[in-house]
Symmetry: D3
Subunit: 235 residues, 6 copies
Amino acid sequence: MRLHVANPNATPAMTDAIAMAARSATGPGVEIVATTNETGPPAIEGPHDGAMAVPGLLDTIRCQDAEPGTAAHVIACFDDTGLDAARCTARAPVVGIGEAACLVACQLAPRFVIVTAQPVSVQVITDNLRRTGLGARCEGVRAAGMGVLEVEGAGGEAALERALGSAARDHPGAALVLGCAGMAPLATAMSERLDRPVLDGVRAAVALAEGLSRQGLATMRAGAYPLSRDVRGRA
Amino acid sequence: MRLHVANPNATPAMTDAIAMAARSATGPGVEIVATTNETGPPAIEGPHDGAMAVPGLLDTIRCQDAEPGTAAHVIACFDDTGLDAARCTARAPVVGIGEAACLVACQLAPRFVIVTAQPVSVQVITDNLRRTGLGARCEGVRAAGMGVLEVEGAGGEAALERALGSAARDHPGAALVLGCAGMAPLATAMSERLDRPVLDGVRAAVALAEGLSRQGLATMRAGAYPLSRDVRGRA
Amino acid sequence: MRLHVANPNATPAMTDAIAMAARSATGPGVEIVATTNETGPPAIEGPHDGAMAVPGLLDTIRCQDAEPGTAAHVIACFDDTGLDAARCTARAPVVGIGEAACLVACQLAPRFVIVTAQPVSVQVITDNLRRTGLGARCEGVRAAGMGVLEVEGAGGEAALERALGSAARDHPGAALVLGCAGMAPLATAMSERLDRPVLDGVRAAVALAEGLSRQGLATMRAGAYPLSRDVRGRA
Amino acid sequence: MRLHVANPNATPAMTDAIAMAARSATGPGVEIVATTNETGPPAIEGPHDGAMAVPGLLDTIRCQDAEPGTAAHVIACFDDTGLDAARCTARAPVVGIGEAACLVACQLAPRFVIVTAQPVSVQVITDNLRRTGLGARCEGVRAAGMGVLEVEGAGGEAALERALGSAARDHPGAALVLGCAGMAPLATAMSERLDRPVLDGVRAAVALAEGLSRQGLATMRAGAYPLSRDVRGRA
Amino acid sequence: MRLHVANPNATPAMTDAIAMAARSATGPGVEIVATTNETGPPAIEGPHDGAMAVPGLLDTIRCQDAEPGTAAHVIACFDDTGLDAARCTARAPVVGIGEAACLVACQLAPRFVIVTAQPVSVQVITDNLRRTGLGARCEGVRAAGMGVLEVEGAGGEAALERALGSAARDHPGAALVLGCAGMAPLATAMSERLDRPVLDGVRAAVALAEGLSRQGLATMRAGAYPLSRDVRGRA
Amino acid sequence: MRLHVANPNATPAMTDAIAMAARSATGPGVEIVATTNETGPPAIEGPHDGAMAVPGLLDTIRCQDAEPGTAAHVIACFDDTGLDAARCTARAPVVGIGEAACLVACQLAPRFVIVTAQPVSVQVITDNLRRTGLGARCEGVRAAGMGVLEVEGAGGEAALERALGSAARDHPGAALVLGCAGMAPLATAMSERLDRPVLDGVRAAVALAEGLSRQGLATMRAGAYPLSRDVRGRA
């Protein structure tokens, strides 16, 4: 089984980190193909970056979707950038890491709290939670106050740990959700240090995507997600 | 005062109709400048069209925002396509016709019902209502079952009247909201035939935008809508 | 165009301040007529004052509604006292400053916070937000802890600034909404000092009311707001 | 124990019917005192009637509250007209029949449906349900389409039975709630004919009020319901 | 009238305290019969204890329901343990003390806050509030951090007073609700010390149950609460 | 990897069918162990059956949890019977098929509709949706009107197809969710006949459970799901 993980931004180092996290959460016989959106912004920080990333992201999805054996796509930005449009672009199912992380968190605790990188992302994530209904399970969305591309440095790791620790203290019964794809490499270490589940959307999404494929499920075309004209036009 | 009305699709006839509706709802001394998004799809039907329209739409907004005297922008698609990104792109306030129509409907009746053109738009609009909180006032979102570009023909007008009439019968206490910018020319006739308020988002949005400017109000930059890097970089 | 701004309380100095704010937010050719409810309480602080103010308020609305050229009415109490009853009393549309301020705030930021004068008003405003659906956008309703008639004195201005500043710190992404008509004269100064939008319902409501009239819209009579028997009985 | 049941309208025959229903639901040693609001409208149909009824209603409550032994007040209009203001007027607790009927219905079935007399009352009741939170349990609010004062005639009884029967068919798992004080005399007969609980707010409210008194509970003064100035002024 | 108060846990001293509270809130001619669930856990702390208590609890209810004159049952655990199952087991109505306390609190203040004993109960109570709709009125659910069986000791009383006092300061407009049946003996003292209503679910539930019986109301069988096969099988 | 699928009822044929569905949705190297709750009711129809099934269900979970290599548990009743208690009983994560089916449905369509077997289950499922927040995505819960053990017969299959077809017509944009574990064998056939996704909770839950294990995630113990005393007492 071949799963496509699409990094909507233009930073290849982030794609590599995402691919490694993805590979750690899949079963035997699953191949992870990770792509970078070369025409996207270096990082997605806020609604303007998100909107500008979508056309290039849809190109990578359309391209990978045409490859034989592609079973599902994962959009590796916690904002679930372009998720609905991608579902209209791909024949295979599409999973967003933001929604996936929250769904999986709900299996481990009744409530969760999200820690993202930038304040500008808080409202984007909050809006997504309203649409998915999962806001009812979310005790808060916070920003650690660092750039998306600063997460992996030593300062970033310390700042993230401080922000997660503070969230854990304020929300003693809530699972922690990492609100940025760039945080994926730190999930395991943070979970150990804070002694509670720390959810990474990349792993959550590839596991969900693998499961969708094993169940033989496909995006529903009637209603919200018809295939776009250009895709329907292909053989 | 100069108000920019941005048609996010590439159909100039629709831009003309929108501009005419806009001019009918503004006070003395207000100039309406309407633009067409030449790189957008002919019509916006669903999330894929919406996503592909945004970069070109933001270009027209950035360009008009730099014109002296531009007091506000209106995005003339009921899906409020790219609204948050536009608020990060323009120095002047930005109003979406979908949210505007619903807000104004709430001044005339406690509840409203929306009739859009295409079934694929129902979920886009429903999601927006969840984000804005106005879903609590909305009794339903329906599709008349016609293409966006078919609204103005004779068949389109009849189909719209049937759909509005049916919505009025099923929701006897609700104002009617036209869920597509292309329906703007028909608002007055439909209101007379159905004997209840029929809201057109284009008129609602330009009236709101004019009011924002008279109150001297500007988009709040802290939080969700910081100016994007490229705009900040300009003088 | 003639807009009637009704002060539901009996304090003429407050009526004057409200009228001045109203005039600052309207376009050319708009006349503001402001009335005082001589039989009302000196200030509306809580549900008892609100209930007792309504019959006199409806009298001023009925009277001004009969004047030729009255295009709309504004109820200048943030509690939106008697709003539904007024819509059943006037032939012209009626806008409440509480709902108007919140609607306009939603054009500038995704979230807002309200600062009113008295603790007893917090629940009245909270209940209104539940009815309008705008509670989904509201991060909190606070009281500055001063009498309605104390707002304009030097102590009142300082206390309001402290309360707004505290709300701004606790809600870094939210627009500020003044939760009392008596605060209208301070809106511009507060916005400058706090460097974010500070919404005044009086200005918001007259701008909305002017816009309703320019769109040719009228209160919907079927359903919730039939004209009351006594008004229907008039020629 | 003395319970005051206040009929907010001016129709003594309705007061008599309400008093009889009230007496059928109280325990030994409870005296029901029922008053008519002589300055109110003949019936409360919509928000205008409701607003005009409140000052007279508050007078009867203030007067009865001063009588020794008054343990609680019931407002016998399903709209819960003036409920918050009454709580600021009386030293004893105040129960509204609309909220009471819904609370009691929730003890018998997970969901309920309300049948009121006039379409104009549907939104008033719907707004109350939003404020109380009980809208989550309510499957619908319907109007039987008769005047409040027509309920007790032969035609009224037949129309009510038709409306309740239709609601029962459409909502097979919901208890039925009578949405008008004038329907109180018909509750038992309707419950027998339709073979499911039919809730009458008058009985529900006096039972709740009796229970409040037996528990020694009083309206909370801090926050929303301070005693009004004039009552505080009395000895 | 005979009311059955079922203590779902196996601690007879708690049953005695509950029975005493129950007797203080009923009218003349009401007999309280209190039972202990001998096969239940010593105290119900969390969902596991709750689930294990239900079969024994249903036995006591089935048994008491067969006694002549039993008018209603009260489940004396704030978690409303087994409430729906009990409604399918008893011919007489069943009231849970958790829902009852919140319903009665809503008659005294627009909002309430709950203080329970153990952190593990917070989510159980929160889930119940979501199901009943009363979460809209609840400002928070807190744990005092003591075992259910420690409440009545001197340390327990002091800890409860601290927790209630802290809740009162943080929620100045909210009634206080005791979130554990074991707190019933302390309600009156706490209300006096904190000078605001302190609701005890045991008293609230028996008063509601007595009222249901006086109104002649019975659990609705169509829909959610059919009588279970074994009860139907009895004569 | 060993996954335990617990059938909470006492019908071995249903356990066999559930195990077969589970095996069809797992990856290489996953072993499914299915157990029958021998002390449970033959089928779970309503809250009384559900409550009586839990102690035996927890026994099977406790027993399987002690087996080396058990990676997760699945509760194979759409009511998610005893889910929270099970999370307090097992060291491994626990997934309920009701919540799992709805979560997976949300990856394929923005909305879903549930078709269960018995009317008595509608409220149980509705209450669960309120607790999980997924009610916001659910357009309705319907009963096909057959016994849980009748689903697999020829008449059951025809009745289910009729009920699903009717749900599909009424909800043209919603995925279909099978609301009963006994329907698992029919999922693929129904999806083909109705040409849209038909979700089976058994498959959804085992796929989720496998994914949880691959991500190395465990139930969070702080807050809602502490290990019960008896399990903690074991080595």
